[in-house]
Symmetry: C2
DNA sequence: GTATGTGCAAACTTTTTGCACTTCG
DNA sequence: CGAAGTGCAAAAAGTTTGCACATAC
């Protein structure tokens, strides 16, 4: 909790109950939508306006606290993991898992250092890996 | 034109003027949105209902004629390129370019054949490469 | 105290849906 | 002719906005 307040003030953001709740929601939910976040907070205790949720999320992105992620399935989702990573997307459900692999990142960096693209300056590469979660990992739903 | 009709009937779809126009629009525009497609068709000559556009696009996806692509910028876009490829996303505009690289695909396949992921069966890997288009390639707008 | 943040409701954008009518094969 | 596709307009879903009030610092 203290940690969350620090994160906010470190970015020069005023610490409000709404912002703490939203940040907490992002960390405890798996790549939630704005609506997932709103429902999570309302379930806990406090009310929050949907407009506030969108405004706060936009502010968080602007300050680099979170990122947007998209899928070809549905709406915008939010990701609180800031270290560089990729995503495993289920082809069977809306489940998305983070995938961190520095060895892979090095492989890609080396590859694109050799093979320069014409007229394009790469800033960031992220893999969207689609497939099936095996065992009992699939079908996990938010909330 | 004959080509487009063939593409439709090969997939067991009835050939209608609307479907031909939509397919033609996807091929001539660069990763258009549904609205880009609608405006393109209306500009050409014929009218078309927005509902029809969405229904037809859904049908095309179902039959594997096109794919959806998403960005964290805006709405759903459609892609008529069926061979496996990746995307270069401009960080300065909405421009997206296709990127085909079989050598890279082989590298990735080999990598993931060795390094198996726990409990995840990979079906497809697509790279979202963000960066800047240099020279006069940037700022190209649809329409 | 002042700048910033929030709630609320209205508006906007994108996408979906139902149903009568039309068209393809 | 029958199944499938289209137009239209209404509705749903997701997101943005303006403004009065509230709160953090």
């Amino acid at each position: 909790m203290i940690d969350l307040k620090d994160k906010l003030s470190q970015k020069g953001l005023k610490v409000t109950p709404q912002r703490i709740s939203i940040l907490e929601a992002i960390y405890s939910l798996n790549h939630p939508t704005a609506d997932d976040i709103t429902r999570h907070i309302r379930q806990q205790h406090s009310n929050i306006a949907t407009g506030t949720v969108y405004k706060v999320l936009e502010k968080f992105i602007e300050k680099g606290l979170i990122k947007k992620i998209t899928t070809d399935k549905d709406v915008i989702r939010y990701d609180g993991l800031l270290t560089h990573h990729h995503h495993l997307h289920s082809t069977e459900s809306v489940l998305i898992k983070d995938y961190i692999d520095e060895e892979l990142d090095k492989l890609l960096t080396d590859y694109f250092n050799k093979k320069r693209l014409n007229d394009f300056k790469i800033e960031e590469i992220s893999l969207q890996i689609k497939g099936k979660f095996l065992n009992n990992q699939m079908g996990v739903e938010y909330e």
